[in-house]
C-alpha cells in the first residue's frame, strides 16, 4: 500500500495545521505544499536537539549554580563539642608562690608538699584548684617577684603566733608562725599546713564559687555543692554586672532641676578620684569618658522623700539625654543630681543614704547644695566620685572580698572563664542555626572566623589562669560573635511554593512551551516513521 499523497507533510503537524487553516475551500483543489526534503526534516530535528542540549547542559547547570546558596563548610561537630563542653574542661590552676626564706630548703619543700596535700583534701571542685610552689630564694629577688603567672605569693615569717594577713598593696598573703609549728621532716601533717590550707581556701572561696556557678550554668553543669544563699548572691552578682566589653564608655552627668549650678570641677575630680582606679583596671578594660551638665532637669519622681519604688523611676528616661551612643562601647552612667531629696528606708528608721545603684546601668548620687552655689567644687565631688568608683568595680563584676589586687586578678580570671564559655556558646548557636536553617547562606568569612575562634579558644583553654588567657578568650569571643552576626547571613529564608511559581512561570513558561512542544512533535514523528518502516518491511515480506 502506497502512502497517502500528503504523507510527508502529515507527520509535520505544524505545516499541515497551517495548511488546514489557510482559506482552503476557496480553492477548487487542495493545493498541498511541496513535500519537505529529508534534509530539511533532519535539520529541524537537529535544531530541536541542539536547543535541548543547550538547555540541559548549559541552562540547567547555570541555573543550579546561580541559585544555590553558598554554604561554607563549618566544623559543626567540633563547634558543638565546644558548646557542650566536651572540647575543653575549663580548669583554672592558680599558682601560688611560697616564700619561706627563714626555713631550710628541705623543710620548706616538705611544708609546701604537706600544704598542697591539705588543700587537695579540702577542695571538692575540679574547675578551680590551687597549686603551691616554692619560690626561689630571696638571693635573686628579681625572678621571684616577676613571675607573672603566680596569682598570689605567700610570705612565711617566724613570729609569736599563727596569723595571716592580706597585703593591701600586692597580691600577697603574709603568714607568721611560731617556730615550733614547722612540721618535722617526716611528719604526715601539721597545724601550720592545715592553717595555710584553710586560709588559702577562704581567700579564694568567692572566686571559686563564682567560677563554679559560671560553669554550672553552662551545659557541662555538675551539681556544684553551693548553698542556696550563696547561689542567690551569685545570681545577684550576675544580674548586676555588665557583660564583658573590652571598652566601656563612662558618662558623668550633672543634673539639676534649677538654673544652678552651671559648672563643676569634673576634670580634676576624675583625675584625682577616678583615674587611679581606671589605671588599675587598665589590663582588663579600656575606658572612654564624657561629661555633661543639664539644667532644669525634672526627675521622674517629685516627692521629697524617695522610697525604694520611687528610686526605680527617678531617672526621667523620656527627657534626660543619657545614652550618648558615642562609639561602639556600652555606656555606664554616673549621675550626680543636685537636690535635697532624701532616701527613706521603710524598715530601718533614721538611716539615710545618698546614692543608689541601678544594675547594669550605673549609679545615681544625690548631692545637696545651696541654691545660690553656681559651682560644684572638687571637694564636693569627692564623695560622689568615690561612690562611683566603688560601684564601677561592682558593675564590672569584681568579687567583693579580699584585697584589691587580689580582687582584680580574680576578676581577670573570672572574665576569661566567662568569655571562654560565651565564645563556646556562640559557636554552638551558630552550629545549631546552620543545621536548623538549611537555606541560610554561610559566607566563607564565617568559616574563617569560626576557625580563628576555635584556635584561640584552644589557647585560652590551655592557658586558663595565666595572663594570656583573657587576651585569647577575648579574641575567641569577638570572632565567634562576628561569625554569628555576619551581616550577609540574613534575608527571607522561607518562600512558599506560590511565590516560586509566580517567579518562574512568567519567565520559563514562554520558553518551555515551544521547547516541549517541539520535542513532543519530534518524538511523535520518529515513532510514526518507525511504525511506517515496520509496516513497509511487513508489506515487503508479504509480497
Amino acid at each position: 500500500m502506497a502512502p497517502p499523497p500528503s504523507g510527508p507533510t502529515q507527520e509535520d503537524t505544524a505545516s499541515s495545521a497551517a495548511a488546514s487553516e489557510s482559506p482552503a475551500p476557496a480553492a477548487p483543489a487542495i493545493k498541498a505544499p511541496p513535500p519537505e526534503t529529508p534534509t530539511a526534516i533532519r535539520r529541524r530535528s537537529y535544531i530541536v536537539l541542539s536547543f535541548w542540549l543547550l538547555v540541559v547542559f548549559l541552562g540547567l547547570p547555570f541555573w543550579w549554580k546561580t541559585t544555590t546558596i553558598y554554604r561554607a563548610d563549618l566544623p559543626l561537630d567540633r563547634m558543638l563539642e565546644w558548646a557542650d563542653g566536651k572540647a575543653c574542661r575549663p580548669a583554672i590552676p592558680i599558682q601560688i608562690a611560697v616564700h619561706a626564706d627563714s626555713l631550710q630548703e628541705e623543710e620548706a619543700n616538705h611544708l609546701v608538699r604537706l600544704a598542697q596535700h591539705a588543700i587537695d583534701d579540702l577542695n571538692d571542685f575540679s574547675g578551680h584548684h590551687l597549686r603551691l610552689q616554692l619560690a626561689p630564694r630571696q638571693d635573686r629577688p628579681r625572678e621571684s617577684e616577676q613571675n607573672p603567672n603566680s596569682a598570689l605569693s605567700i610570705h612565711l615569717k617566724p613570729g609569736d603566733a599563727t596569723t595571716a594577713a592580706l597585703d593591701p598593696y600586692r597580691a600577697a598573703l603574709d603568714i607568721t608562725y611560731p617556730l615550733n609549728s614547722v612540721p618535722p621532716l617526716h611528719s604526715a601533717s601539721s597545724m601550720l599546713t592545715t592553717y595555710i590550707a584553710t586560709e588559702l581556701r577562704s581567700t579564694f572561696a568567692e572566686e571559686q564559687s563564682i567560677v563554679s556557678y559560671l560553669l554550672s550554668s553552662s551545659p557541662t553543669s555538675k551539681p556544684a555543692g553551693l548553698s542556696p544563699a550563696v547561689v542567690e548572691a551569685l545570681e545577684k552578682r550576675a544580674t548586676r554586672a555588665l557583660r564583658y566589653a573590652p571598652t566601656y564608655h563612662l558618662t558623668f552627668s550633672l543634673f539639676t532641676d534649677g538654673p544652678a549650678p552651671t559648672t563643676w570641677d569634673i576634670d580634676t575630680a576624675i583625675n584625682e578620684y577616678m583615674k587611679p582606679l581606671l589605671d588599675v583596671l587598665g589590663p582588663i578594660h579600656n575606658f572612654t569618658i564624657d561629661t555633661q551638665v543639664q539644667l532644669y532637669a525634672t526627675p521622674g519622681v517629685q516627692s521629697q522623700t524617695l522610697t525604694k519604688d520611687d528610686l526605680a523611676s527617678f531617672i526621667n528616661a523620656a527627657e534626660w539625654p543619657l545614652s550618648p551612643s558615642i562609639g561602639g562601647a556600652p555606656t555606664i552612667n554616673f549621675l550626680t543630681f543636685i537636690g535635697n531629696q532624701t532616701i527613706g528606708f521603710p524598715d530601718s528608721e533614721g538611716q539615710t543614704s545618698q546614692s543608689w545603684m541601678i544594675p547594669q546601668w550605673g549609679t545615681v548620687y544625690l548631692l545637696s547644695q545651696p541654691d545660690t552655689n553656681s559651682h560644684v567644687t572638687k571637694d564636693a565631688l569627692r564623695q560622689p566620685m568615690l561612690t562611683f568608683g566603688g560601684h564601677l568595680l561592682t558593675l564590672l563584676g569584681t568579687p567583693q572580698s579580699g584585697s584589691l589586687p587580689l580582687r582584680l586578678s580574680s576578676l581577670s580570671r573570672i572574665r576569661s572563664a566567662d568569655l571562654l564559655l560565651r565564645a563556646s556558646d556562640a559557636l554552638g548557636s551558630l552550629a545549631r542555626l546552620s543545621r536548623s536553617l538549611p537555606s541560610i547562606a554561610i559566607p566563607r568569612n564565617v568559616a574563617d572566623g569560626v576557625a580563628k575562634s576555635i584556635r584561640h579558644l584552644e589557647e585560652a583553654c590551655a592557658g586558663l589562669g595565666s595572663s594570656e588567657a583573657l587576651y585569647h578568650a577575648r579574641i575567641a569571643e569577638e570572632e565567634a560573635e562576628r561569625a554569628f552576626f555576619e551581616k550577609s547571613m540574613v534575608g527571607q529564608l522561607y518562600f512558599p511554593d506560590e511565590h516560586k511559581i509566580a517567579v518562574y512561570l512568567p519567565l520559563l513558561g514562554p520558553v518551555t512551551v515551544p521547547l516541549v512542544m517541539g520535542a513532543i512533535k519530534e518524538i511523535k514523528r520518529l515513532l510514526q516513521a518507525r511504525k511506517q518502516r515496520a509496516q513497509e518491511a511487513k508489506d515487503k515480506k508479504s509480497q
Binding site: 616577676q146 607573672p148 593591701p168 598593696y169 542556696p228 544580674t239 573590652p246 571598652t247 578620684y273 583615674k275 587611679p276 582606679l277 589605671d279 588599675v280 587598665g282 579600656n286 521622674g300 525604694k308 519604688d309 526605680a312 523611676s313 531617672i315 528616661a317 523620656a318 527627657e319 543619657l322 545614652s323 556600652p330 528606708f345 538611716q351 543614704s353 546614692s355 543608689w356 545603684m357 541601678i358 544594675p359 547594669q360 546601668w361 568615690l386 561612690t387 566603688g390 568595680l393 584585697s403 584589691l404 589586687p405 548557636s429 595572663s467 594570656e468 583573657l470 587576651y471 554569628f484 552576626f485 555576619e486 551581616k487 540574613v490 534575608g491 527571607q492 529564608l493 522561607y494 512558599p496
Partner: protein, 387 residues
C-alpha cells in the same frame, strides 16, 4: 512518712527557687508601623500611641526602636501640620517635641526588620538603631499595618511571612537575645502571623482571626481619615486607665480579659503554649514587665563611705607600684607579655587611592591585563582583516 515528704518539698523549693526568681533586668520595645500614605494615618498613630505609652512607663528612647514608614505630621494633606492625633478630640499631640524615630521612610523594610531582630548589622549602624538585648531582656514587639493570611505587608512593596518572623525569633532565642517576648500585632488576620512561632518564652496576641478584618475605631472629620484602629484603641484605653505608673500590679491576663469582642469587632487571639508554664504563668506576668522599665535598684548604706576611701588609697598606691615595677622591668629586659587590652596603635594611613580590599589583588591585575591584551589583539586582527 509525712515529715520526709515535707522535707523533700522544702528541699525542692529551695533548689528551684533560684530558677524561678530569674528575672529580667532591662526592657526593650520594638514598635513597627508598616504602611505608607495618607490614608494609612491610623497605622502611624497606632504606633505613636504605643510609643507614648511605653515611654510614659519608663522605657528610655535608647531602648525603643521605632519604625515609621511615613511622616504623617508633615504630610501636605494634614490639616494640622506638625501633629498626629489618635483621637478626634485631639487632646494629645502624639508627635510632640520629643520623639525619636529610629527607622523611617524607606528604611522600614522586611530586611531591616529582620536585621534588627537578629542584630546582623554592619559596623556602620549606630547603637541607637540596634536591638542590644541579652538573655535578661524583656521585649515588647508591636506591629501594625496591612496583612493577610500569614503575611504582613511592608510599604506596599514587600511582605514578611509568618515563617520568617518565626525563624528570626528562633535565631534570637538561639543567641540568647531575649528573656521573654510579648508579641502584639494589629492587622487583618493578625492571629495567623504568630501561628508559626516555635521559640519558647513568647506570649503572642493579635487583633483578628483568619478571614477577619481588623477595623478602625473612628475617623476625625477634620483630619479626614480614620485615626486609630479598634484593637489598639482598647489596648490603650486599658493601659491609660489601669496602668497609671510603674507600680501597677495589673497583669497581662487582665489586659487580655479586657478585650470585648463587641467593641473590637473581631476576635483577638492569644497564644500561651510557647510560654513555660502555659497560660497561667503567662497571664500572671505584669503589664509593666513588658510595657514598663522595672529596675531593681540597690541603695547604698551609709557606712560604705569608709571602705571607698580605703579603696581610693589602694588604687593610688597600686598605680604607683605598677609604674615603678614597669619602669624596673623596662630597665632589665624588654620581654613583652601580651596585655589583655592592647592600646590602639596609630595606624599608618596610605594617602591617595587605595583599594578597599587587598585580597586577590594580583589575580585582578592579571585578569585586567589579559582583557586589555585581548581587546588590543581583537582590534589588531580586525584592522588586519580590513586591509
Amino acid at each position: 512518712m509525712l515529715f520526709p515528704i515535707r522535707l523533700l518539698a522544702v528541699l525542692a523549693t529551695s533548689l528551684f527557687l533560684p530558677l524561678a526568681s530569674a528575672e529580667h533586668t532591662n526592657n526593650w520595645a520594638v514598635l513597627v508601623g508598616t504602611s505608607r500614605f495618607w490614608f494609612n494615618y491610623r497605622h502611624l498613630s497606632n504606633v505613636l500611641s504605643m510609643y507614648r505609652t511605653v515611654k510614659r512607663l519608663g522605657i528610655p528612647d535608647s531602648q525603643i526602636i521605632l519604625m515609621l514608614p511615613d511622616d504623617m505630621a508633615c504630610n501636605p494633606r494634614n490639616a494640622f501640620p506638625g501633629t498626629v492625633y489618635s483621637n478626634s478630640n485631639r487632646a494629645m499631640d502624639l508627635y510632640g517635641d520629643n520623639i525619636e524615630v529610629d527607622y523611617r521612610g524607606y528604611e522600614v523594610t522586611v530586611e531591616n526588620f529582620i536585621r534588627l531582630l537578629t542584630d546582623r548589622v554592619g559596623d556602620e549602624m549606630p547603637r541607637s538603631k540596634r536591638l542590644l538585648t541579652d538573655d535578661k531582656s524583656n521585649i515588647l514587639i508591636y506591629m501594625t499595618g496591612h496583612g493577610g493570611n500569614e503575611f504582613l505587608k511592608f510599604q506596599d512593596a514587600e511582605e514578611i511571612g509568618a515563617w520568617d518572623l518565626a525563624d528570626a525569633f528562633q535565631q534570637m532565642w538561639e543567641k540568647k537575645r531575649y528573656h521573654e517576648i510579648l508579641f502584639m500585632i494589629d492587622t487583618c488576620q493578625a492571629n495567623t502571623m504568630f501561628s508559626r512561632l516555635y521559640s519558647p518564652n513568647i506570649i503572642a496576641t493579635g487583633s483578628s482571626e483568619l478571614d477577619q478584618s481588623s477595623y478602625s475605631h473612628h475617623a476625625d472629620n477634620d483630619v479626614g481619615v480614620a485615626v486609630i484602629d479598634r484593637y489598639t484603641y482598647y489596648n490603650l484605653e486599658f493601659l491609660e486607665n489601669q496602668v497609671k505608673d510603674l507600680s501597677s500590679q495589673k497583669t497581662v491576663g487582665d489586659l487580655f480579659d479586657s478585650y470585648d469582642i463587641s467593641k473590637i469587632h473581631s476576635n483577638p487571639g492569644m497564644r500561651y503554649d510557647l510560654f513555660p508554664g502555659g497560660a497561667d504563668v503567662a497571664r500572671s506576668r505584669l503589664i509593666t514587665d513588658f510595657f514598663g522599665n522595672i529596675q531593681n535598684v540597690e541603695v547604698d548604706q551609709k557606712e560604705n563611705g569608709a571602705l571607698e576611701e580605703e579603696l581610693l588609697e589602694l588604687g593610688r598606691t597600686i598605680a604607683m607600684l605598677r609604674q615603678k615595677e614597669a619602669d624596673e622591668l623596662n630597665q632589665y629586659n624588654n620581654a613583652t607579655s601580651v596585655p589583655a587590652s592592647q592600646p590602639t596603635e596609630p595606624v599608618k594611613h596610605i594617602r591617595g587611592a587605595t583599594a578597599l580590599t587587598e585580597d586577590n589583588w594580583w589575580t585582578k591585575k592579571v585578569v585586567g591585563a589579559t582583557a586589555l591584551a585581548g581587546c588590543v589583539g581583537l582590534w589588531a586582527l580586525g584592522s588586519f582583516l580590513e586591509t
